[in-house]
Chain length 110, copies 2
């Protein structure tokens, strides 16, 4: 693989990897609705505050979210909304896989 192409894929993979965690997907989805502070997200997710903070820093580091300090809290918001469009495709993968599994079942029952 050519080195330039490889670098490009590494950069992309870093972003996608930042999304590749249930809690972080949840955060992305929530931030797509409205901005949230760490505290709110921590309550919703039900994990340790430090854990959520680290998830947010991973998302921020990947360039997916921005933070803004207001008073005592830090509000995070989604920087690139097009990410949410991708979820539809992910759902397609899931449903198409489920459909295929059903077909296999049908086939074997005959």
């Amino acid at each position: 693989m050519k080195s330039m192409v490889k670098t490009q894929h590494e950069a992309r993979a870093k972003i996608i990897k930042a999304m590749a965690h249930p809690s972080r997907l949840f955060i992305i989805e929530e931030l797509n609705k409205k901005e949230r502070c760490v505290n709110e997200l921590t309550d919703m997710i039900g994990a340790d505050a430090s854990t959520v903070s680290k998830h947010l820093s991973i998302l921020k580091n990947a360039g997916l979210v921005t933070d803004e300090k207001r008073g005592n809290s830090i509000f995070y918001s989604l920087r690139v909304p097009c990410i949410m469009e991708f979820m539809g495709c992910v759902e397609d993968v899931l449903s198409s896989t489920a459909k295929q599994h059903l077909e296999v079942l049908k086939c074997c029952r005959k």
Copy 2:
């Protein structure tokens, strides 16, 4: 987080995690152009054949690719083309981050 929502995010994360690797992104991109057998991909990537085979099995397990045996080779193809549309969004993240970094530089130089 409600359990059903959590399960949904876990399912999605599994698919996204399967994409979150440079070599696997490369494979996805190649398979979007045309089907390929393990051997061809191994040559292109330049890793051990067993490594590439494992990457393919991860992609297959996530429902992203299908395989079809023909003769001595196994040909893989992309199952859900909409994945490629997402790459545009990932590039947006990258360029928007780069742009922001430039702004910061400009700002500090003044």
